[in-house]
């Protein structure tokens, strides 16, 4: 992996070069270098996945089945009711599609890496990543890419398109762009919170259980927000914003808003969560003592 080698390439002037004029150029150089590294990581992941093709396909089947399960569940519920709150059947299908899309995209980029962090700490393998001349959080968070998850995200898009068709709604380009932007905010929330939980592994070896526990919370994200009330709603809106992550993007497409607050809240919470996870990461990495040496 040539891109991971120390700063020798001409494209990277390194920290010595701090004159005012080339500052913008060096920023671009840094971006280019990270892009090159990331492409290399993609290639690596692709090679790894293709080593076990059968398994790769079977995991896609597994995810599809569980997605289908959610849709069956909603269909069964709507055999017995016209609506949940004001949510109609196809609006909820859209919500489940959006939730699955967000979850799978998160999974594609971040999930394996978050769950692996505790293993890196426990075995002391983090040493090698700390020594690399790149931002450690970058390489820890994005090292492996789960390519199968992109296929599943695509299946979620298909379900969303069908649900929109049943709702007889054709979103404008601006709405699609807004939806995508809010999805990114949702993914950022998932990533920040799970990464924050993963950094607990610097304090205790039991972090992996906690990280998987968080995975449970994805179940809430695909439920219509109007069903919830009281403390439960407050906690999962303001402390762990699960009820914002996929409900707000879905509302943008299918239901509209009474006020712009949910959008502001989702964007604000994603910024807060990301800032918190960075603080948590910095505090935790200081405690790292390296298990093997």
């Amino acid at each position: 992996m040539s891109a991971l080698e120390p700063r020798t390439s001409a494209s990277n002037p390194g920290p010595v070069d701090n004159a005012a004029a080339p500052a913008r150029r060096s920023l671009r150089a840094v971006a280019a270098r990270y892009l090159a590294i990331y492409i290399e990581l993609w290639r690596n992941s692709l090679t790894r996945e293709m080593m076990f093709k059968g398994n790769f396909l079977l995991w896609i089947v597994v995810e599809m089945l569980w997605f289908a399960l959610q849709l069956v569940f909603i269909n069964v519920l709507y055999l017995h009711t016209e609506s949940i709150g004001t949510w109609t059947k196809w609006q909820v299908v859209l919500l489940i599609g959006a939730s699955h899309f967000i979850q799978q995209t998160f999974q594609a980029f971040f999930l394996i890496n978050c769950t692996n962090l505790s293993e890196l700490v426990r075995t002391g393998k983090l040493d090698f990543l700390l020594l690399l001349p790149v931002n450690t959080r970058f390489v820890v968070s994005l090292r492996q890419i789960d390519l199968g998850a992109f296929v599943n995200a695509a299946s979620a898009v298909a379900v969303m398109v069908y649900a929109l068709h049943r709702l007889e709604f054709v979103p404008s380009l601006a709405q699609v762009a807004g939806f995508a932007g809010l999805c990114v905010a949702g993914i950022l929330i998932h990533y920040s919170l799970m990464f924050l939980l993963a950094t607990i592994s610097f304090w205790t070896v039991r972090a992996q259980g906690i990280v998987w526990g968080y995975y449970n919370l994805f179940n809430i994200a695909r439920m219509p927000d109007e069903a919830f009330r009281g403390l439960f709603k407050a906690v999962f809106t303001f402390a762990v914003p699960m009820l914002l992550v996929s409900n707000v993007p879905t509302r943008l497409l299918a239901k509209g808003f009474d006020s712009p607050w949910p959008i502001v809240l989702l964007l604000g919470m994603s910024a807060v969560c990301f800032a918190l996870s960075e603080l948590g990461w910095r505090a935790s990495i200081r405690r790292y003592t390296s298990a093997s040496s």
Binding site: L58, V62, L77, G209, N216, A227
Partner: protein, 294 residues
């Protein structure tokens, strides 16, 4: 790397010279010991068990909220045959039954034992791997209940308005019988699935695929009798309802009399079938396993 023995003759040969202990008494002690050790081992994971129980409440609460919204949209009318209280009871009971009967990591561990060659030692010891794993499963459930009981009871007490008690003691007794059979069915099925490790490298996908079907068809997501009748009837031809739904419906008094007796017999037959499958898969697998090692 441990290489499994080419043949097992020496082990059998040695046993001839050992004074044969009275089999039944010794067997009992041996396996009781496994249970004890299993409990000790599992207690080290008590924090995980507690976390799992507590995190498990969150989706459960969410589910109850969704049902409440549905009952409110229907202005309180019952869904299929369920009032809201009965629906809440259904989910609480299925959580309890699940805590009592679900395999935890037994299937992964068995598969790992096979993959890493750990089962070789069991081929040499006078201990049966299936009973050994069953003891560990029992100890796992016992430990899990020790940890989960307190939060579970608090949770149920908090919702006691909605929690129905069984009609009478015999019903409760039959519920317990059914729960034990459910646990056995769960275990033998998982054991049989884990045997796939003799043939394939990665068993987790297969386990998850089966689990997806079980999740739906055993009543984890919703009680099966809210499904259209033909689908519900069809599900009864599979073992899945007996992995959760059946004991819960016994408790709730949904099945009584001759139906109940028939259900228990069918459940017992499924347990036997799963046991036979587990044994069969092991016997076929072990043949292959020895061939690889030799």
């Amino acid at each position: 790397m441990f290489r499994p023995p080419r043949h097992l003759a020496p082990a059998r040969f040695l046993r001839i010279f050992r004074p044969a202990p009275r089999p039944d008494q010794c067997t009992m002690r041996k396996y009781r010991h496994v249970i004890n050790v299993g409990i000790q081992n599992n207690l080290t994971y008590r924090f995980n068990f507690l976390a799992r129980t507590l995190f498990g409440f969150i989706p459960l609460i969410a589910m109850l909220y969704v049902w409440r919204a549905i009952y409110e949209s229907n202005s309180g009318a019952s869904v299929a045959t369920y009032t809201f209280a009965q629906m809440v009871s259904y989910y609480l009971l299925s959580t309890v039954v699940d805590a009592l009967t679900a395999v935890n990591e037994d299937d992964w561990q068995i598969a790992a034992d096979i993959k890493d060659g750990n089962i070789s030692q069991f081929l040499l010891k006078p201990i049966d791997y299936l009973w050994y794993r069953l003891c560990l499963f029992v100890s796992g459930r016992v430990t899990y209940m020790m940890v989960a009981a307190v939060p579970l009871v608090i949770f149920i007490l908090a919702l006691r308005r909605y929690f129905v008690l069984p009609a009478d003691w015999p019903t409760f007794g039959l519920f317990l019988v059914s729960v034990v059979m459910t646990a056995l069915l769960q275990f033998f099925t998982s054991y049989a699935m884990a045997m796939l490790a003799f043939w394939v490298l990665e068993v987790s996908t297969f386990i998850f695929i089966l689990f997806a079907f079980e999740y739906l068809a055993s009543g984890h997501l919703f009680p099966l009798d809210i499904l259209p009748a033909p689908i519900e009837q069809a599900l009864y031809f599979t073992p899945f309802p007996y992995q959760l739904y059946f004991p819960v419906s016994v408790y709730l008094g949904k099945v009584t009399g001759a139906e109940l007796a028939k259900g228990l017999i069918i459940q017992a037959l499924w347990v036997l079938a799963a046991y036979a499958l587990a044994r069969f898969a092991w016997n076929r697998g072990i043949r292959r396993y020895a061939a690889v090692g030799g």
